[in-house]
């Protein structure tokens, strides 16, 4: 379909007409390839689903103490089929009514703007898979390597209106291969595939986990560790399967297309390359700089997908400023921040797990059925992470933290940096104690959510870090909740054993739900 009028077409030069024909042929060929790929993908998903169901049945049979008793699976849920009947109006609108049919069905939109059209060939998944319609306007299906005209190239997100919440939930914009606008040459580029595997956690329990994988961390959990320096263009290409996914770069702040949220941009069916450039820090300036600890996660049916494990750590390292050189074996936490010891730098990510949720499917709850996703009742409590320099690679590895090392205060080494990421839905408290269990103020908090703590009391002059301003934020405990990150230096006063106790609390009553204790050996 062309949205251009004949007159406008006739005004085009013959050279452009030839190009248009060639382009149409390219588009047609690409569509054929895409359809073939989708058929193969559908067949692959069908086989995967059969295998998964068989594995789940087997797992249920053999699961016993200490594994949890698994709540019964949600009753056969209606499929997430959206029978879209968008009208051709000046206002792009996609009205959809959820149906109880087993097979997604949809009719094509005649809207003048890009719209999602359900793919009738995909029936294996209980979700609606969609591709963007090709139009003469720059669209999300344009050749990924081309630079689209940004005018009109952005999907009209949130300009749609919906009749009901279930329409909204089940009719997010899905795009096969969205275009990365103004694609740059990246300094760092990674490719992430979706994976789904039964993984054995450090308490011996086994659960179906979903996460991201690359060549180094195959089918592991959490997703691969990413490390990018400020100022460098970063690319991450996601290849979803088992339905659409996105990657949200939590705490990073790119444009909306690269923010990875379905209802403010798009969900990805085929692949998409996220692009961003972490803002460089400036010494003494509290308004600039991205260095710190972040994470990435899927933002589709987020309560379920994140709980299933679709997240991973992201560290942004600072630019090196001439006034703040770095010693051998050390790094700075932010551009004018303290140096820390690379060798013992560690990540600690509290995570709790509700076994009932790990029996669910990709789109559970989206069609309006009560999937119980307001009811998170964790039975297992994990501390993920470890020393960043020593994350074990390989297949089906769960990165679990069992102990920490820390450099003694005043010793020859720079202090240890502990990065903590709350990958949890519950309020959590970290408590440092000495060997006798007495709380020990050995943590110095230096950053929160990727931003340093600074003294900002005097306008128009440099804002030093709190430690440089003379009041390091030392603590024996840290209270924080879902998705927060803190960076802290550890300053054990003497060599020996310390402990870090992690406490999970109920989000309504505050009652203690779980505890883990991690030994810290100070040398």
């Amino acid at each position: 379909m062309s949205i251009f009028s004949r007159k406008r077409s006739e005004r085009r030069s013959s050279r452009r007409s030839i190009r248009a024909i060639e382009r149409a042929q390219e588009v047609a060929e690409r569509r054929r390839r895409e359809e073939e790929r989708r058929r193969e993908a559908a067949e692959r998903r069908r086989r995967e689903e059969e295998r998964r169901r068989a594995a789940a049945a087997e797992r249920r049979r053999r699961r016993s103490s200490p594994k949890p008793s698994v709540s019964s699976k949600p009753s056969a849920s209606p499929s997430a089929s959206a029978s879209a009947t968008a009208t051709a109006g000046a206002t792009p609108s996609a009205t959809a009514s959820a149906t109880q049919s087993a097979t997604p069905t949809a009719t094509a939109s005649e809207s003048v703007t890009p719209s999602a059209t359900a793919d009738p060939t995909v029936t294996a998944e209980p979700t609606t898979t969609a591709e963007a319609t090709a139009t003469a306007e720059p669209t999300v299906t344009a050749e990924p390597t081309e630079q689209p005209d940004p005018v009109g190239g952005v999907e009209p997100v949130l300009h749609h209106r919906f009749q009901s919440q279930v329409d909204f939930s089940s009719d997010q914009l899905e795009v096969e291969n969205p275009v990365t606008e103004f694609l740059q040459t990246p300094a760092v580029a990674v490719d992430f595939d979706f994976h789904s595997r039964d993984l054995v956690m450090d308490d011996g329990a086994e659960f179906e986990m979903w996460s991201f994988e690359d060549d180094q961390y195959e089918r592991g959990f959490p997703g691969p560790t990413l490390r990018v320096q400020e100022g460098k263009v970063f690319h991450a290409t996601v290849h979803p399967s088992k339905g659409p996914h996105t990657i949200h770069w939590h705490g990073m702040e790119p444009d909306p297309r690269n923010d990875g949220v379905g209802h403010t941009s798009f969900e990805v069916d085929g692949q998409y390359t996220y692009q961003m450039q972490p803002e460089p820090g400036r010494p003494g300036d509290p308004n600039y700089g991205a260095a710190g600890t972040y994470f990435y996660h899927c933002h589709v049916n987020t309560p379920l997908h994140v709980q299933m494990g679709m997240f991973g750590p992201l560290v942004i390292d600072p630019v090196v400023h001439p006034a703040y050189p770095v010693s051998p074996g050390a790094r700075r936490a932010f551009v004018d921040g303290p140096e820390y010891d690379i060798d013992t730098e560690a990540l600690l990510a509290p995570y709790s797990l509700d076994p009932r949720w790990h029996e669910m499917n990709h789109a559970d709850g989206l069609s309006g059925e009560d999937a119980g996703l307001n009811r998170f009742e964790p039975e297992h409590f994990y501390v993920l992470g470890g020393e960043l320099a020593r994350r074990p690679a390989g297949k089906e590895v769960v990165w679990s933290l069992s102990s920490l090392r820390a450099n003694v205060k005043g010793g020859p080494k720079k202090p240890t940096l502990l990065r903590t990421l709350n990958a949890n839905y519950l309020p959590t408290t970290l408590i440092f104690t000495d060997a006798d269990g007495t709380e020990a103020r050995i943590a110095e908090l230096i950053s929160h959510d990727g931003r340093p703590f600074r003294d900002t009391s005097v306008p128009n002059v440099p804002a030093p870090s709190c430690r440089d301003a003379g009041y390091p934020l030392t603590a024996s405990r840290l209270a924080y909740g879902a998705a927060e990150r803190f960076d802290m230096l550890l300053h054990p006063p003497t060599a020996g054993r310390y402990y870090l106790r992690v406490q999970w609390e109920d989000w309504v009553t505050g009652a203690l739900l779980g505890t883990r204790t991690i030994p810290i050996d100070a040398t």
């Binding site: 444009d255 308004n287 996703l373 900002t456």
Partner: protein, 462 residues
Amino acid sequence: MAEQLPPEILARGDLLKLGAAAGLGFAALPLVQPSAPRNRVARTPVPLALAAQPGVLDLYINEGYLKMVDDTLVYHRGFGSRPTDVDDPSPSLTMDPTVITVAGDVIPSRSYPLEAPLPPRGTPAPLRADAANPGQFLIRRNYWASYFPARTIIAELGSSIRLRVQNRLGKPHTLTVFGAGTDGGDLTTGPVAPDAVATLDFPCPRPGTYIFADPTNAPVERVLGLFGVLVVMDPEHQWDIAEDLATFERQWVWICHCVESRWASMEAAGQTVDPVQTPALPRYFTLNGRSGFESLGITFDDTVNLATEEETLISGYPRQLDVRQFGEGTEAGTLRGGQLVRLINPGICLHQMHFHGNHIWTVRRNNIDWPRHEGFVDNEGHVVLQQWEDVVELAQMDTKDCIIPIKRPPDAIDPVWFARTGDWVYPMHCHAEPSQTAAGGMYPGGLVAHWTLKGPIPGATP
């Protein structure tokens, strides 16, 4: 697993079967609840409306049914602006926003300052393009009014607040303003008997954000909807959080809450919920009384959409600012600052308010200013220092005041930023993810909003 609903909760399907979805079918409500017990807590005959008195704000403790985002009707109680009964098709369960001036006037108003121009669709227009910073704008200082949501009282410092509360229900209820006493203590009517009227007079506390609620059988009555917010402004500093504190372009009141349907149905049936015996399992999560697509302003009801944009959906034009000082801009009449968001949690869940697109700068908690110098970590393990956050912890009954800078998203690449032609929209949601659901699913159907970084203005010149 599907949750078994008590019979007093009308499921969406029931409504559709009755063909009552459009009008909500309130009038027919008793007809579709044959199992509803007779010992309802409503009074018959109910008292009439109170005779208005100058300088007095009347609140009515009412009950009724509210439509959730999935069209389910759930029993609620609330402080309303007019007397209504349980079967009222449009029950008054939230009070209309009202301004109490230093001159002693009680003025129904969705906006403050009263004389300031209203921002179109809630978005303050800038003064002009910023010549020094292409793509950004100079922001008007001390100019635009702010819209406020239902359940908000805006009181000017120096005023006397006189609340008159009529209890129209069958059990005693109380109105308590937390932390508003001269010594920081609570102010309360004490128990107000059925049909009785109580008056609570008190001098306006210092500028800040205060929660009022019914502490009876805490937190049950609050969860049922008996809560509201008192915002105190200094009439001499109408665009400052308080004198010598952050100046803002406009402000937003965000009231977080959740709905416990089982508790509601038990109370509707005349029982008294024991929150220990029946632990809370919130089923709906609201921001300024709306959830999901209604909170995002993308319904087919233009009135609801507009109100949501004006009251909830933060929006503004990109600007240059410095967190070291939110005040006078580079020239007179301009602001070097962002917009104020008052995060308020009268609910029972600990929320984790995550902003995409911009970190936000937290300046105070529970009306206690966080320092910019000599911060510390308190005994609970919270950092007490003004700071950037992309996730703001919002505990039950807490308030936090934050400045959203409305600035260029820092990690967007230059070519994309400079090629913008339209608005950039970023989500805000609670990251305690069960709050993102409605009726056990329908993501994103819970406590969610977004904020808009407005696009270029064609022809805008410095």
